[in-house]
């Protein structure tokens, strides 16, 4: 007999898509089954055995009354850190004591999210013993999310993670959030730099900023290996690092001919479930090029690379014929954020091209200049993008020492309301009214 009747929640077990309800029930069943075994092994469950049952009960209640039953976090965490733990309490603890405390711990994921099973099993054992046994693989920011434990377990879990697994927590609150990257060079031919290495190195360099909130609000780094943008850095990170190149797309003309001739599958097979007719390079590649920089000449594909805007379409469509250039690096865009507070923002281009090579000193200098400005001028809960809007893109260029270039804008300004600086105007602004009156009567 289940602890709570959950007829509505139960309806989410059917249907083909993996059921999260079945996941919670699976954990519930396992906990009840293994309670004795754990006890005998000297590892009795450290949070109530029926935590999963009570979670299902809370969810059923929310389904009935259409509202959440979780309260604001309050301040819980591990000693010396200001992030990594999200405090969570149920607003009906008497009915659902198993989830009275249901704190989340964010565990900093390895860059690219590759795992050995040995490591994952260690996480499972720890979380079975000291938590609910429920996780998110992974949270929106990228962390391994351990979902639901009690306050007194936090230090024990942190101690086990650091001492036995060489593993630290991720970020939360007004600090550097856990940086995340695409899988990059590890398994992608489009990667223009080593996203995993840059992600790891910056995460290590800024551990203090990640664990101890000193910022006006959250701050996110994300690393995309190419303009396809698989980790969505341009939409959701205060600093977005997107791989690019500035020389020529490498062309294998034989492979181009093979695509034209139908011997090679276009789009790496990405459209294979539907008959779109034979591949037409003119219609599907050349005519769709946003800068119209390609043409066919005697069966050869010619690219005017100077005019290329590196949208990746031709490379995505003919990956065996076209490859990213050799002079590779990344672009930095800044200020992306979701709508709260002042409306959503996309990242704005700040650095068109920079090499991404260890020890990444130039990149770090840009980051630190931006942080200095934002920490000085940013208001409470003001994201970087909002500060840039409030003080102007010019100010951002000034604090980073970056020279304005046409690449910074989609188009020049629509109005002549230019804030000239005094030193830009010959003779300065100090003028004598008496001199003026000599020429102009009152």
């Amino acid at each position: 007999m289940p602890k709570h009747e959950t007829p509505m929640v139960d309806q989410l077990e059917s249907g083909p898509w993996p059921s999260f309800v079945s996941e919670i029930k699976r954990q519930s069943e396992a906990r009840h089954q293994k309670a004795k075994e754990m006890e005998e092994a000297g590892k009795p469950y450290q949070i109530p055995v029926d935590v999963c049952d009570d979670l299902l009960g809370v969810l059923e209640m929310s389904f009935k009354d259409g509202t959440t039953h979780w309260k604001h976090g309050g301040i819980v965490g591990v000693f010396g850190y200001g992030g990594g733990v999200i405090g969570r309490y149920c607003d009906q603890p008497e009915m659902f004591p198993g989830v009275a405390h249901f704190h989340t711990m964010r565990v900093n994921q390895p860059a690219g999210k590759y795992y050995t099973t040995e490591y994952l099993r260690q996480i499972c054992d720890l979380w079975d013993f000291r938590g609910s046994g429920l996780t998110n693989m992974h949270g929106s920011t990228g962390d391994i999310v351990l979902l639901g434990t009690r306050t007194e377990q936090l230090e024990e879990i942190f101690g086990t993670l650091t001492h036995e697994m060489d593993q630290d927590l991720g970020g939360s609150g007004s600090n550097l959030r856990t940086p995340a990257c695409c899988l990059g060079e590890s398994r992608c031919e489009f990667a223009c730099y080593d996203t995993q290495e840059l992600c790891y190195q910056l995460t290590m360099e800024y551990q203090d900023e990640l664990h101890r909130p000193a910022f006006p609000y959250k701050f996110k780094f994300k690393f995309d290996g190419c303009p396809n943008g698989c980790v969505a850095s341009i939409a959701r990170s205060d600093m977005s690092f997107i791989g690019t190149w500035r020389d020529e797309i490498r062309i294998d003309q034989e492979a181009v001919a093979a695509y034209i001739g139908g011997e090679l599958k276009p789009n790496a097979g990405a459209h294979a479930s539907r008959d779109w007719g034979p591949f037409d390079i003119q219609k599907e590649v050349i005519d769709l090029c946003p800068s119209q920089c390609m043409r066919l000449e005697d069966g050869k594909l010619i690219i005017d690379n100077k005019e290329c805007v590196r949208c990746m379409h031709c490379i995505n469509t003919m990956p065996r014929a076209l490859r990213i250039g050799n002079d590779r690096g990344l672009s930095i865009l800044v200020g992306a954020k979701a709508p709260i507070l002042d409306g959503a923002q996309m990242g704005s281009l700040l650095v068109p091209f920079i090499k991404a090579e260890p020890p990444y000193d130039e990149i770090k200098e840009i980051i630190e200049n931006i942080w200095d400005w934002w920490m000085e001028e940013g208001k409470n809960r003001e994201r970087l993008g909002e500060l840039i809007k409030r003080q102007g893109f010019q100010k951002l260029l000034e604090v980073t020492g970056i020279k304005p270039v046409p690449q910074h804008v989609q188009e020049p300004r629509h109005n002549p309301y230019i804030f000239w600086k005094e030193e830009e105007v010959p003779g300065g602004w100090q003028r004598d009214i008496k001199e003026f009156r000599k020429l102009h009567q009152r």
Partner: protein
């Protein structure tokens, strides 16, 4: 419940033996050998069938990846099962994608069939697949989402349930690659958007429609009034004093806030700062559908999603209206868009007026932007339009 100390923490001397600031594990220690060997030297990839990728390296090595969906919320029991599969077929390595898919990799083609068979054979007792294969190419991949009623204090809807419903409804699109281009659906259960869904082909967004209730008796004890006032983007909140009768029957004057309700846009930012201003409400809360955003720079530039359905009620457990709207949007897109056209590119080519007609969606005043300067740029400053 006997408390079992880890032995690493002494509350009297919290700094003793403490290890901090060590960061994540080094990623290179977790790479499968074939990945490690060929890192940075990949030549090209092919999608052999939906959910199955082959990457070819300069060395001639190949790695075959099978991508599976997951509900993101995983029990350690299932993670152990994933480990068993990875141990059996993949030499003990596995990875997860940004969109919560699981990827099993093998280094030769002849290991592929057994792996695929193993994955598809596993089902939950309720009947759902544990590891459905798909999510590649011009199709639908997993929906990224947030916590909802499972774990969050600010949601206007549930996340896991709405995602389950939509993925059940569109399951065949996950298993195939027959759409004009890839389709990225994202879900966030309130405007805070932990999931940053605002640049998705289709975004499902939880949303409140009633201004906060003010818990006058407790507000000054639980909140910093100036922070609550400052939290409001439209300046609808001001400090005030009011006379109340407390729960114990005492008459007294308390410091609190007043809210100009007609100025509230239901963002919930005040509630984030002040627990005495709850917004959640059964009739008030529901979903907004946004569409036509993208992140990739391919062909067209990245763009924001636009609000196309102003409100869908919360209908747990299976949100039938949501499922119906999502199917209609995806089917109309699949039928009308040209090859390579993302959802938003298609809507822009045919014009949004035609989009509403084809998708049989009602256009109401709610869909006209009136939030600050960017609003003007979304109105039509031309005589070019379609009837």
């Amino acid at each position: 419940m006997t408390f079992v100390p880890s032995g690493y923490y002494n509350p009297d001397k919290p700094m003793e033996g403490r290890i901090t600031d060590i960061g994540p594990r080094y990623y290179a220690d977790f790479l499968p050998p074939v990945i490690k060997k060929n890192k940075g030297k990949w030549l090209y990839h092919e999608i052999l069938e939906p959910g199955v990728l082959m990457h070819k390296a300069e060395s001639g090595d190949e790695v075959y990846t099978v991508r599976c969906g997951s509900p993101r919320l995983l029990s350690v029991e299932t993670i152990r099962e994933i480990c068993d599969i990875a141990d059996k077929h993949c030499d003990g390595y596995v990875r997860f994608t940004t969109r919560n898919n699981i990827e099993f990799m093998v280094d030769s083609k002849d290991k592929l069939e057994a792996l695929k068979e193993d994955l598809t054979s596993r089902k939950h007792p309720g009947g759902s697949y544990k590891f459905p294969i798909g999510g590649t190419g011009a199709g639908l991949t997993n929906i990224v989402h947030t916590q909802g009623w499972i774990h969050c204090h600010t949601p206007a809807t549930d996340a896991s349930a709405t995602v389950k419903v939509v993925m059940d409804e569109l399951f065949e699109e996950f298993q195939k690659m027959e759409l004009p281009a890839k389709l990225r659906i994202s879900m966030a259960c309130c405007l805070n958007m932990c999931g940053a869904v605002h640049c998705s082909d289709i975004a499902i967004l939880g949303y409140h429609r009633k201004p906060p209730i003010i818990d006058h008796e407790w507000l000054d004890n639980l909140c910093e009034i100036p922070l609550a006032v400052a939290a409001c983007p439209t300046g609808a909140i001001r400090p005030t004093k009011t006379k109340i009768t407390t729960e114990s029957g005492e008459e007294k004057e308390v410091k609190t806030v007043a809210i100009k309700q007609e100025r509230c846009m239901f963002c919930g930012n005040c509630y984030t700062m002040c627990p005495s201003l709850p917004l959640a409400d059964k009739e008030g809360d529901g979903l907004v559908i946004m569409a036509g955003g993208k992140i990739s720079n391919r062909i067209s530039q990245p763009k924001f999603s636009k609000v196309v359905v102003a409100f869908i009620p919360n209908e747990p457990p299976r949100w039938p209206t949501l499922a119906k709207v999502m199917r209609k949007l995806v089917e109309t897109y699949a039928k009308h868009a040209r090859k390579y056209e993302r959802f938003g590119d298609w809507a822009e080519r045919i014009g949004w007026e035609r989009f509403f007609e084809l998708c049989e969606l009602e256009f109401t005043h709610h869909l006209i932007d009136d939030f600050r300067d960017p609003a003007y740029y979304t109105w039509r400053q031309t005589t070019q339009f379609k009837f």
